[in-house]
Symmetry: C2
Subunit: 300 residues, 2 copies
């Protein structure tokens, strides 16, 4: 039999990653309801919103209001893409901040017009300031396995980037298969290595279900001892590179699998589905997750 | 790292299991095209059709024509639900026949109005006759993990049923998680035990993706040394108990994962997607598989 963790933590990314990729503008009141529903389902860590320029991402224009009107339960993250975002995050009263960089040069250049090195150089003073203020810093590492432009990313490059973040003071590494190409063997191998290399940092696996390998990857990384997973209620959001393609692995499906494996999360799957049912009315993306379909068929 | 098989065989169940559950009547010519497309994609084992009463399943009324007009490539199975079906299968010239029984009494009673024991008693002379004629017999064991009426099925009961089939002369055991409830731990445990108990029989795992655990289950059973998987192109068919719920795990998603793991199947994922694109025009169910979405987005 497999030796798996007894407990796992879900970091819900739906309100930020999920809604950020949603073309239809969602009203602040509906976002706040979604967040509250998810908290009441037992979710204790969540990416709430992003302090990105509203010119670029109008969906996140209400970031300040979202933070101010959300109860502080466990760790509630806000994304700060740059120094300005970090200032706004601090001003809003956020105490947990996420920063993002891709391992791939080409990916960073296409997305933020900076190389990986330039991105890290720009983030260094940001993280330094956040740490001075006692903020919990979550470092999100995208294209950790594959890049849509460069193809395969060498594990050494991902580990080197993680090392830079840890040296800067990051409290958490969220390591992402951004385009959903990693297989379970690769996922296990990278996370075993990350766990060995960074024993004192919270280590989180972020899988996309584009090629339907996310659940197998989660199972493989559980075998590597990983017990933190980024997931999105309803499978909302994910990679914008493949229109119509499945992005984030769904919270309700992951929690259900963990439940059946006897791995405690403290989360109620049915209540997550109720949260999805409420937000589903306000988003354009169809909800195709396993547990949500059973829920809507009254088979949950 | 994991020790996995070098090769795996896919048993395509789309033309039988997939189309049998399709409410829209599919023309024989379109079924034959689907089968031919799949053969040309490299699929060497397939469930073609079922010799079930056309009164019960009008979709399978053309079983004889399907067998007669299909090229004999590898193993092409027909399903024979009873003695009459076996007679018709033999008369059609089929050389590989599948028979079905559930482990669960309640499941068999609801489906065929017989207990498990009564079903096996009725199948014994059928299998005996098939074996006399030199036919390859595939024994399909449904509700091997969970039953929609009885809940959890004890592994001992599944193994005992498999043992009866092996003693009757079955050449293959296809062991199914009919309602998609098994988790990777349970899947691994049962298949490890089956492999130990029946080392001389072909052992096939049949997973449904209802709760999105099929790919994780396949990965877990690969770790148990299983190298035969029932899958359905486009994810067609599956369990009729949950309308709208996902049924069979998709051939294209499984083959792709096996490809990336370096496990050879001889199957071309893109050609499977082309086969799905052709049959998709004739079925009512939406195709939600990962690889097919990438294919239709021209990202494959």
């Amino acid at each position: 039999m497999f030796i798996l963790p007894n407990n796992a933590t879900i970091i819900e990314v739906g309100p930020r990653d999920g809604l950020q990729n949603e073309s239809k503008l969602v009203a602040t009141v509906d976002k706040l309801r979604f967040i509250k529903d998810l908290q009441q389902a037992g979710i204790s860590e969540m990416e709430l919103t992003s302090f990105v320029s509203p010119k670029w991402v109008p969906q996140m224009a209400d970031a300040k209001e979202i933070v101010e009107k959300t109860d502080c339960v466990g760790r509630q993250f806000v994304l700060a893409p740059n120094a300005m975002g970090a200032e706004l995050a601090l001003a809003s009263g956020a105490t947990n901040v996420a920063v993002f960089v891709g391992v791939s040069n080409s990916f960073n250049q296409k997305n933020i017009n900076r190389t990986t090195d330039e991105s890290m150089a720009a983030l260094e003073p940001v993280i330094s300031k956040l740490k001075e203020q006692g903020i919990f810093v979550r470092a999100c590492i995208s294209t950790a396995f594959y890049c849509p432009y460069e193809g395969k990313i060498e594990p050494e490059d991902t580990i080197a980037l993680c090392d830079r973040f840890v040296k800067m003071g990051a409290d958490e590494l969220s390591v992402a298969d951004t385009i959903g190409m990693a297989n379970p063997q690769e996922s296990y191998a990278l996370f075993i290595k990350l766990k060995e290399t960074f024993p004192d940092v919270l280590l989180t696996a972020h899988f996309h279900d584009t090629r339907k390998m996310a659940m197998a990857n989660i199972f493989a990384t559980l075998q590597a001892g990983v017990n933190r997973f980024d997931t999105s209620a309803g499978g909302l959001g994910g990679c914008p590179f493949a229109p119509g393609a499945t992005g984030n692995v769904a919270t309700e499906d992951v929690v259900h699998m963990l439940d059946t494996l006897g791995i405690r999360t403290g989360i109620d799957v049915k209540k997550v589905c109720e949260a999805v049912a409420n937000i589903a009315q306000h988003v354009s993306r169809p909800i195709e997750t396993g547990m949500y379909k059973l829920f809507t068929n009254e088979q949950l």
